[in-house]
Symmetry: C2
Subunit: 198 residues, 2 copies
């Protein structure tokens, strides 16, 4: 291959994206350079801005460039419900199912002692503070039905129990071992309405 250094480096960098191999990366690089430089500039600007400004909501740990995200600051959301999920993608999936109107808490990970991921690494100290909210009545555990997801849910269930709050586990219609992120809206809707006490 005799592509120029800048084009070669661009193709290599585009492979940082999940699901994009060298062949797709090359097609994307040629497309942006040949046919859509404006799109390429939009991408550069949006990515640069997001990398420099997007962090985690100090209240729910969702990805946001704001100190407090829109869901946390909205007065329309039900403050008696708190749904704990592993990732921002899970929040996005639940929001697009339009079957949940409570608050969220995003772990951005799961407990994994072997990998050195303990309670503070997934923000459970921040969650502890959230559990002291007087309006809160029920915590819905929506971690993934994997070994580590279940262990994380059990750990949080103990924290919730100490605060004498209701605690439920989302009812998974999705296959065990699957990922919440990829469930369709109707499955997610059933999973929420079929939740049972822990």
């Amino acid at each position: 291959m005799n592509l120029s250094p800048a084009v070669t480096e661009l193709i290599r960098a585009l492979c940082c994206m999940p699901g994009i191999g060298p062949k797709s990366a090359q097609r994307i690089a040629f497309h942006l350079l040949e046919r859509d430089r404006h799109g390429g500039e939009l991408m550069t600007d949006a990515l640069k801005f997001a990398l420099e400004n997007v962090g985690h909501c100090s209240c729910c740990r969702m990805l946001t460039e704001q100190d407090i995200c829109d869901v946390c600051s909205s007065e329309k959301r039900d403050s008696s419900l708190l749904c704990v999920v592993e990732s921002p993608a899970d929040v996005a999936a639940l929001e697009s199912s339009a079957s949940y109107s409570g608050r969220y808490f995003v772990l951005n990970g799961r407990l994994s002692p072997l990998d050195g991921i303990g309670p503070e690494d997934i923000g459970l100290d921040v969650l502890q503070t959230r559990l002291q909210d007087d309006q809160l009545k029920e915590v819905i555990l929506a971690t993934n039905p994997t070994l580590e997801g279940e262990a994380t849910a059990s750990y949080i269930a103990m924290m919730v129990e100490k605060r004498a709050l209701a605690c439920s586990r989302i009812a998974y219609g999705v296959s065990v071992g699957g990922e919440l992120e990829y469930a369709d809206g109707s499955t997610l809707s059933h999973a929420l309405s079929g939740r049972r006490p822990v």
Copy 2:
């Protein structure tokens, strides 16, 4: 959906890439922001550099940040052969088939009078200059076997004829209507060796 403006804008911008829909764009955005910020910075830097520096080789019109690309400046390439292709992706495909050692000319398009794309828009004035090279003996037409690709090949064949040079059309083993870019190396190798005079 309640994603923050910066994250929403990033997802929208990532959809500029061919083959990337909103769902994939969201997965990529979350991945880069949550798990691979270094990869995101590599992408931003590489894309910004490429957009600002990569243009077309003044000799063959291939994508490059150099004035003259590596293939054109290499003394190892056979200057008696000139292969005319529609896009940089076609050059990449032919190079990885390792069955061609001559020079290239990249049209970056094809004749399309209805879309207002005439000879100068695909660099045929630059090609005219290339045809005056004393070392050149044969022009290989490797435009795609589409209606516009064939019309472009016919037009260039007339230019080559006036210069009294040999002119051949690449032998396509690929299905008519298909794209050169996606042919495998062995198909491309056969197509090159089976070329016939126009």
